[in-house]
């Protein structure tokens, strides 16, 4: 009963006109970056983060979250119409969505993806509002060793799910942890790897790295090739799926929601992986698996539901434990900290307006997106027609303004460009950026937890192995590290195959 009361309180916060506006702005901006290729939610959130410095934390969080789930919606539109996923979580949607569009069924494909996303988002938010308080209760008993173990698990899962080589993903994570140590050591005050530069004393900001490695690097790798985008010229009509479509999709949507939500909660999981998993599941339960890839509506409904549910699930560890499960959550966490809030289990009790207002705003955001996305599809398609040679200088400009206004310091621009070049080069060498960024955020938190744990135990490492929660978490992490050594059994290969 108490939860319902709190949800109602949350609605009263989220429905304040100013918060509604932030929610709307976030959802529109998110849909826009989801539609534009080469600009993912991560880069967009990093770019808009400085803009939110001037507004209250609740509004800031609501707007940033809106960008995130808005991008999930927008990404599907381009997958279906142009066969170009606006962002990674919509890759699977291309398989059947584009085929449907070619058969003249772009309308129902877009419709089911919007409705599927809406249903999944709604169930996801409801589940979130019931799971989160329970988790907060459990988390209040966590000490530094548990946090350390949990962060280890988070990083391991992320590297485990990375595409390609797990060793290379681990290398990126370790390098990220190292970048996290740059600056003044919080415990002893010693300068580490600052080369005597004042600008580096506060450490390397996550926003600078994220904008460099996701924004600048992405653009560099796009302009190195000659780009041709041809929009599928078709009249989008009849957005509402018919009864037959619904019959075939409703099961897929519900299964996708379940898969997405639980994979989303897992540290390191998230929208991308859950969309692939749900597609695979649908193919398995289907009576006609051979038709997948030729334009079946379940193949659009399931992954779209899954990536939206995962987007909601991913908020759980971030808002209850203060631990980001993916890069987007890491950015949100950074935003909370910039606003002077301490993420973690105390957030819910100390700032109930922020906590519940934020959760319910996602529900409102979902309604807005449904209203926004369906009638506005022709407008989004127009944005796709802006030629890239004119679009990319503007994206670069937004990155520059965003990174400069964090501290009004030109050094941040250089830092971003450095990480842009770095990100571009490691991409060429087939490394992934995500584990590095998550590690940069987690690094200082992990080091603090590690050193606090060792102070608690007077230097005895067994503290991690005698406390039940931490030993289980570390055990799972070690298991995941060892798993790829068992040949052929790994799901990673299957996923890689699916992606091809």
């Amino acid at each position: 009963m108490e939860t319902i009361q709190q949800i109602l309180y949350g609605f009263s916060v989220a429905l304040e006109p100013i918060n509604l506006l932030f929610c709307f702005l976030g959802a529109v901006a998110g849909t826009l970056v989801g539609v534009l290729p080469g600009l993912g939610p991560t880069a967009a959130m990093a770019m808009l983060l400085p803009v939110t410095f001037g507004i209250p934390p609740t509004g800031a969080l609501i707007m940033l979250a809106g960008i995130y789930y808005g991008a999930q919606y927008g990404g599907s539109t381009t997958s279906i119409l142009v066969n170009i996923p606006g962002e990674a979580a919509s890759v699977v949607t291309c398989l059947d969505g584009y085929q449907m569009a070619r058969q003249g069924r772009a309308g129902p494909a877009l419709g089911i993806s919007a409705f599927g996303s809406f249903i999944a988002g709604t169930i996801g938010v409801l589940a979130l509002s019931f799971v989160a308080p329970a988790l907060v209760d459990a988390a209040l008993s966590f000490g530094p060793p548990e946090y350390f173990a949990l962060m280890c698990l988070g990083l391991t899962v992320l590297t485990f799910l990375a595409h390609g080589s797990m060793i290379k993903a681990l290398m990126m994570a370790v390098l990220g942890l190292f970048f996290g140590t740059v600056g003044i050591d919080p415990i002893t005050g010693v300068q580490r790897f600052t080369f005597g530069k004042t600008d580096l004393m506060e450490g390397i900001g996550m926003v600078q790295i994220a904008m460099g490695m996701f924004g600048i690097a992405e653009i560099l790798s796009t302009i190195e090739q000659t780009i041709k985008i041809s929009v599928f010229e078709t009249k989008v009509k009849g957005l509402f799926p018919n009864l037959e479509d619904w019959k075939r999709s409703i099961g897929a949507i519900l299964r996708g929601t379940g898969i997405g939500f639980f994979l989303g909660i897992l540290p390191g999981g998230g929208a991308v992986i859950s969309s692939f998993a749900s597609y695979a599941v649908e193919k398995r339960v289907s009576k006609h698996p051979e038709k997948f890839g030729t334009g079946v509506i379940e193949g659009v409904a399931a992954p779209e539901a899954a990536n939206n549910a995962a987007a909601q699930g991913a908020f759980i560890p971030m808002i209850t434990l203060g631990i980001p499960s993916n890069v987007v959550m890491a950015l949100l966490l950074g935003a909370l900290m910039i606003h002077g809030l301490t993420p973690g289990p105390l957030l819910m009790t100390q700032h109930p307006d922020l906590f519940w207002g934020f959760i319910t705003s996602m529900y409102i955001g979902n309604v807005m997106l449904l209203i926004l996305n369906l009638p506005l599809i022709p407008m989004w398609v127009k944005f796709l027609k802006v030629p890239y040679p004119i679009l990319f200088p503007f994206i670069l400009l937004f990155c520059l303004i965003g990174v400069y206004t964090i501290n009004n310091n030109v050094f941040d621009i250089y830092l971003m460009i450095f990480f842009g070049i770095f990100g571009y080069l490691v991409r060429k060498l087939h490394f992934e950026a995500a584990p590095l960024i998550l590690a940069v955020v987690l690094g200082p938190m992990m080091e603090k937890a590690l050193r606090q744990s060792l102070t608690m135990s007077k230097g005895d490492f067994s503290i991690f192995f005698v406390r039940p929660i931490s030993v289980v978490l570390l055990g799972v992490a070690i298991l995941l590290l060892l798993l790829p050594m068992i040949p052929r059994a790994s799901t990673r290969e299957k996923i890689a195959k699916l992606e091809e």
Partner: protein, 152 residues
């Protein structure tokens, strides 16, 4: 040379640098780690991972991506370079030239020289873009961007 062999060697070098840098910091001891403790062991782990990468790449017979291919792929290196130089110049000149004027040249330069557009479009977009960005960020959001010698 396979790409991952190159990667292994490169990151092994980086790990050595990290370890050397860390040893200059107070290490503390196992029971009371100092500021140099974690970076040093991160360096060691990175080194070990690089060695594992080297060994597994050499053992694997599967045809792998050759490092040569990375370099000779059809890539418009020149365009990437132009974009990078423009970006760096933006950082260097921002506080002297000022946001409004520099943004005009920044946008114009990228639109004209990366994928050359006709001059009409270049000037039009650069004008609309720089004035628009100025109005949004400086006038509306009051982000206090550098005025430069124009003082705006």
């Amino acid at each position: 040379m396979k790409t991952d062999q190159f990667n292994g060697v490169l990151f092994l070098l980086i790990s050595v640098l990290i370890c050397m840098g860390s040893l200059r910091l107070p290490y503390g001891n196992v029971h009371n780690p100092g500021p140099g403790f974690l970076p040093f062991w991160l360096g060691v782990i990175l080194g070990l991972l690089s060695i594992i990468l080297l060994i597994t790449t050499m053992l694997r017979r599967k045809e792998a991506m050759l490092f040569r291919q990375v370099l000779t792929e059809k890539i418009r290196w020149g365009k990437v370079l132009i974009a990078l130089v423009t970006l760096i110049l933006y950082g260097v000149l921002l506080e002297y030239v000022g946001f409004l004027l520099l943004t005009f040249f920044f946008l114009g330069c990228l639109i004209r020289f990366v994928d050359p557009q006709p001059w009409k479009k270049v000037i039009g977009w650069a004008l609309v873009g720089s004035v628009g960005a100025y109005l949004i960020f400086e006038v509306w959001m009051k982000l206090r961007l550098p005025g430069g010698f124009l003082g705006v």
